[in-house]
Symmetry: C2
Subunit: 120 residues, 2 copies
Amino acid sequence: MAPSDSDAIFSALADPTRRAILSLIGEHEELTAGEIAAHFDSLGRTAVSSHLRILRLAGLVAERRDGRFRHYSVTPTPADAVVAFLTSVYQNSLEQLASAVQGAATPEDVSGGRIEERSA
Amino acid sequence: MAPSDSDAIFSALADPTRRAILSLIGEHEELTAGEIAAHFDSLGRTAVSSHLRILRLAGLVAERRDGRFRHYSVTPTPADAVVAFLTSVYQNSLEQLASAVQGAATPEDVSGGRIEERSA
DNA sequence: TCTGTTTGTCAATACTTGCGCACACATGTT
DNA sequence: AACATGTGTGCGCAAGTATTGACAAACAGA
């Protein structure tokens, strides 16, 4: 089994703390490592830094260096690998998945909601 | 941080072998544990059984007992938690995600393919 | 019914990986 | 120089994984 990008992404998303960090960054435009660490009293700066490193290596966050600060932001198109996997597995129930994503994204732009039978 | 369903799902998806098992089941309607184990020469039946247990506890696969066989199938709506998380984080670039899912589902039924600017 | 075989899981054990912490270092500011 | 921001390193602890051996359940044949 060749290690692909999916490994890094799914491994990074496996940790609840990293998902919380990712959500936290997503709520704001950018956050410094210190600001992120401030939101997790039970975690030290070292731990947060390690998580950020993993998220960065997985391509889930981007780092912008500004003086002695490092601003972290969410990478625009990182979920492609996740979606690719989901689509390959859930071709059966892809209709629900598509509608769920669509509903959260553009609730009024759902036009052709009909899904044809899967090819597999 | 309260342990939710997301934990089990993301943890289950973190392992490449489990993702391979999930993909394998997705390619077929149903597969017995033995058939799944046969596809992984480097793994014993015990390991596959453990993985199936984790996938089942995460709600990603369903088990149908038929005599001494156990047929495993992909659960229809398990990706909701994943999609929910992605939508909460990637609201910015969510339309790309939606179109990606749509494209995989119904390549000719993609109507609103326009991508608006992200708020970031 | 009574073996014997197949299917699949459970239990216990070693191995590997990952997390969090304390310390030190590099970088940048004043 | 003194201080602040972040990260790299090494250590201890916990969690997860694969293997071996044994067990429960179901079927086939005599």
